[in-house]
């Protein structure tokens, strides 16, 4: 049991570090680059993203048996949630992983984004049970 735990930390840690390196070298966390992508003047990162999806798709076909059953369903929050996320992403230039990359590059303002995200996730959990109550199928559960 103990050994499994340590391996788990190692695996997640290694992937996290690699993920940080890749995101930094792509330039996803640089707001100037991101803004250029979103106003469609420089599509490099859009191609990067699409290429990553296609590559994963090909490998997922090979590894079909290894993929765990996932719980992603359409629910009333899908569209409003995605819209809110899209607007927010354009404003703060960060999706949940990019905020750490921004901070790693020295942009200290990302701390505010992080506080905001923490509060947003927490608020959703609190309001969801009370007011919405549908199945969200959040990933990684």
């Amino acid at each position: 049991m103990k050994k499994i735990r340590i391996n788990q930390y190692l695996a997640y840690g290694v992937i996290g570090i690699l993920f940080g390196i890749v995101l930094t070298r792509i330039g996803f966390a640089n707001y100037d680059e991101l803004h250029k992508m979103f106003i469609l003047t420089d599509l490099r990162m859009l191609y990067t993203f699409a290429g990553g999806v296609v590559l994963s798709m090909l490998m997922f076909f090979v590894l079909t048996k290894k993929i765990p059953a996932q719980h992603k369903i359409f629910q009333p929050g899908t569209i409003p949630g995605s819209m809110l996320f899209g607007f927010g992403w354009a404003i703060c230039g960060a999706c949940p992983s990019l905020v750490f990359v921004q901070l790693g590059q020295g942009a200290f303002g990302a701390v505010l984004t992080m506080i905001g995200m923490f509060f947003g996730v927490w608020t959703y959990r609190k309001t969801h049970g009370r007011y919405f109550g549908w199945d969200t199928g959040t990933c990684g559960v």
């Binding site: 570090i17 690699l18 469609l40 290429g51 994963s56 929050g77 999706c95 992983s97 790693g104 905001g116």
Partner: protein, 207 residues
């Protein structure tokens, strides 16, 4: 100013990460899921605890159900039921639904190691630059440092709330979901990309 990777190299990197995550961890990459785990750890712990109590009480609950069934339907119903279901199957279902997931500290390590990875890279390539705002363009759009901070806080809250509401973010819906051709994920990805493009265009016009 260091050059960023060309698109194909970045694509190899992103694809490699999502596959490596699947191979090493056995799940699909989803950063907003990790966020949810870290932020809500205390509440999740309470839920797990009550689940555990339920498991320990399984026998008591089972015999209560059995007594109730006997009173209602008599012995015959039990024999009939036994023919249809075997015990092993039931036990498997129970243990699968109670399979303890990754502890939240592992997710915290994951998120923080993203920070470590990018910090090391930024220092190595000389991209590291300490600043209180986000970037030049961002400051041009939003103005003084205080205004930038308010924008970041608001934007962060929108992202946090929105990703939880949509059930995934760029990695969960975009990278993992689209790659598996899940219709909801494709819909969500299109919606958040179009929203972000719309919002950015608007900010560019008003800049």
């Amino acid at each position: 100013m260091t050059e960023y990777w060309p698109w194909w190299m970045g694509a190899l990197g992103l694809g490699g990460i999502s596959i490596l995550y699947l191979l090493l961890v056995g799940r699909l990459l989803g950063v907003s899921g990790s966020w949810a785990k870290v932020v809500n750890w205390k509440e999740n712990q309470a839920i797990d605890k009550s689940k555990q109590e339920l498991v320990q009480d399984k026998d008591a609950m089972g015999s209560a159900f059995m007594a109730e069934t006997l009173a209602e339907f008599g012995e015959g119903a039990i024999d009939e039921f036994k023919g249809e279901v075997d015990d092993a199957n039931i036990n498997q279902t129970v243990s699968a639904s109670l399979d303890a997931p990754t502890p939240w500290t592992v997710h915290l390590v994951f998120l923080l190691s993203i920070l470590v990875g990018s910090l090391l890279t930024a220092i190595y390539t000389g991209q590291f630059e300490f600043r209180l705002d986000l970037s030049n363009v961002h400051s041009q759009i939003f103005g003084t440092t205080w205004e930038v901070w308010v924008a970041l806080l608001t934007g962060g809250m929108m992202v946090g709330f929105g990703t939880q509401m949509a059930g995934g973010c760029t990695s969960g819906h975009g990278l993992s979901g689209c790659a598996r051709l899940i219709p909801v994920s494709i819909l969500a990805t299109v919606v958040f990309m179009v929203s972000a493009i719309f919002q950015s265009m608007l900010m560019e016009v008003m800049r």
